[in-house]
Amino acid sequence: MKLLGEMLVQQSPFSEIVIGNTAIVRAMVESGVRVVTSYPGSPTPEIAEAIYSIPESKRPFYFEFSTNEKVALELAFGASINGFTSCVFFKSVGMNVVADSFVQLSMMELLGGMVIVIGDDPGANSSQNEQDNRHYGRLSYTPILEPKDAQEVYDMFLKAVEYSKLLRSPVILRLTTHTAHFKQKVNFGKYIPSLNQSPVFDVEKYGPYIPIANNVPVMKRRALEKLEKWKEISEEFAYKTQYKSKRGIITAGLPYLSLLDVVGENVDKVDILRLGMVYPLPRRAIVEFLKSHEEVKILEELDDFIEQVVKSIAFEENINVRIIGKVDIDDWIGEYTPEKVASVLRKVWQDLVRPIYPIKSKPRVIQRPPQLCPGCGHRPVFYVLSKILSNKDISVADIGCHTLGFLEPYKVGQVLLSMGHSTSTASGLSLFNTSRKVVAFLGDSTFFHAGLPGIINAIFNNHKFTLVVMENGTTAMTGHQDHAGKKIKIRNLLESMGVKHIWEVDTYQQDKLEEVLRQALNTDEFNVVIAKHPCMLKFTRERRRKGIVKVPQMRVTNKCTLANVCITRFACPSFQRDESGNVYVNKDLCIGDGSCIPVCPSVALELEKFESVGDEK
């Protein structure tokens, strides 16, 4: 078996099949990064998985999952102004969390250099929007590199560190979901362990670091002067084909590869300029490209960020060229997969799109929405609440696995903004509202991430609603990262803040859970139910790792009267229907948790009798 952790820190060059996220970690090692921080979020958590594959004693840098993205970014900043090369990584919407501190970075002398890796999510594969974070580059005068594949993720990270150190400036390495997960054989260089450095923070020499009053214009000028240098560097990252056509396409990142697949052999009918740095843009390369063509299409995922700049360059330079940007609203939405690029290009240059020959008819396709895992401790909460909440009552979702409560059949959780919004949105919903109960949900990792200010506000300003903390002991959705709850008990925190009504209940104790929720919903003050049960996906994985494969499972006995509560209302995915409509348990799925037992009105669900529980190693 190949051991990733050993490869990532080996000193000799090698090549290996890895995803972009893993390639970044080798780039961190080679480029002498000393401090790495993050908050977990798709599509970036595999960076941490690769880091964790290196035993801590062999890891050439410090790594932590911080409480939230902003904390992570500030930590990386602190390290960098002290001379240590740092890197922070997080998902697309994490950019909003870091923004308050992030926008200051370009004004500071980042002595060690600092790379901000963001995982944007065109197509919203695992995010609540598809925000285009290139705008943050312009907002803060921060350069953005955008790789097209895993090899370039690695190459550009090395470049990012080099220039970031040289200019003492932050750099964004912008991945998207499918560059982060792009799998290919990547060629890595050699790793020369570097000598220990000492902390060099020095206000006299490198300051000011306080952007207040007279310092602000001085520091802003510094940022803008660096931006001028980045404009020069940007030219190095402009890649163009040999000119052979009057038509040209300007593009960047993964959409470039989609384009190549879509045009196929028609690639000879069009010239392509690919931008590796998407902010600031390489003006000379663009001017030259525009001047050399009669028509130029900007093929750009998400917003018209490049388009606006290219158009203004053409205007300023008085270049006579037809620039074709986004044609309609559809061009703004979704990931630029080969299919999408084909549809975008067809609207402009139909002849470039290579034909495909699909099968003739369409198969019957049944929707498969995501759902809570078998045995999930969140399920009893949503099941019970779907029984006891009235149609008028309002439930406020938050980010986490428990967001899935909004789907059928529970439909609990009706509104969502962002991490930790639930407590304050619920506070707003409770104003001028005595007739409709308000209940908010919050995961335990999110409680620490961004939930606390809303809770403190609810206590301080006397808002009246029920908060259900869905405590599963981990950051489950992103792959089971630890969080502060390991050391800091949520109940103790709430008590010390003065919450008067707190209940703590294991969600598998369904009678007690129902009683507590009813009590909570009838309490006329801010109140909290801590609905706990360990993440069962984590539990079953750990059980398998111990070699336990066979466990007793649920079965439906002949007492079943087809009330269908287990399958249609409790809706554990283990319950299935046979051709005659009888309910049975899918042996591939049931984990033998028994959380369904109380829901059957006919007492027809029981755990198999089972002698041995597998062979422990």
Binding site: M1, S258, I356, I359, P363, P409
Partner: protein
Amino acid sequence: MKSFSIFMIGVGGQGIGTMSEILIRAVDYSGQKCIGVDTHGLAQRGGVVSSHLKIGDVNSPLVTQGDVDLVLALERHEALRGMNYLKSGGTLVYYDTSWQPLPVRLGKESEITPEEIENFAQQNQIKLYKVRYDLPDVRMQNIAVLATVAKYKLIPSVEIEDYLKAMEDLMNEKVFKSNSELFLKIVNGN
């Protein structure tokens, strides 16, 4: 052959990731260029999970719907969904198990049967391989599918030993032993 594309589809938790990791390495051992990408994130919670693999003269790791040579499905409902991706004359290998999606469990849709898959494949001239074995562990269904792919040489120029080398790279000794035994049993079976 200029290029060859494979689309893998299943339900979160079925082992699509491992299957695609073995495949990309097997293709690499066969000396061909190969790129790929998995879907991650929210969908993994009991939703549809897919993985793309492209061999040869290719650029994007993402396959194009209607342009895929080989679809590997780990589940019946996903097999039918996966066929949507096939090009004319393509091949489907699927493991015949049923993890009923919510609309079926709620009684809003009827379960997809092997007959429905067979009929659809026939109407559209899709080469079809149905896989089903009595396995010691459900998590070996992906290995059974891979073994079928290897047995019938459904991926050009990739040999049995390429698959085995790839598995050995990714598995510890114990897991490799049980998986390679199953793999070879199917490859050498009738």
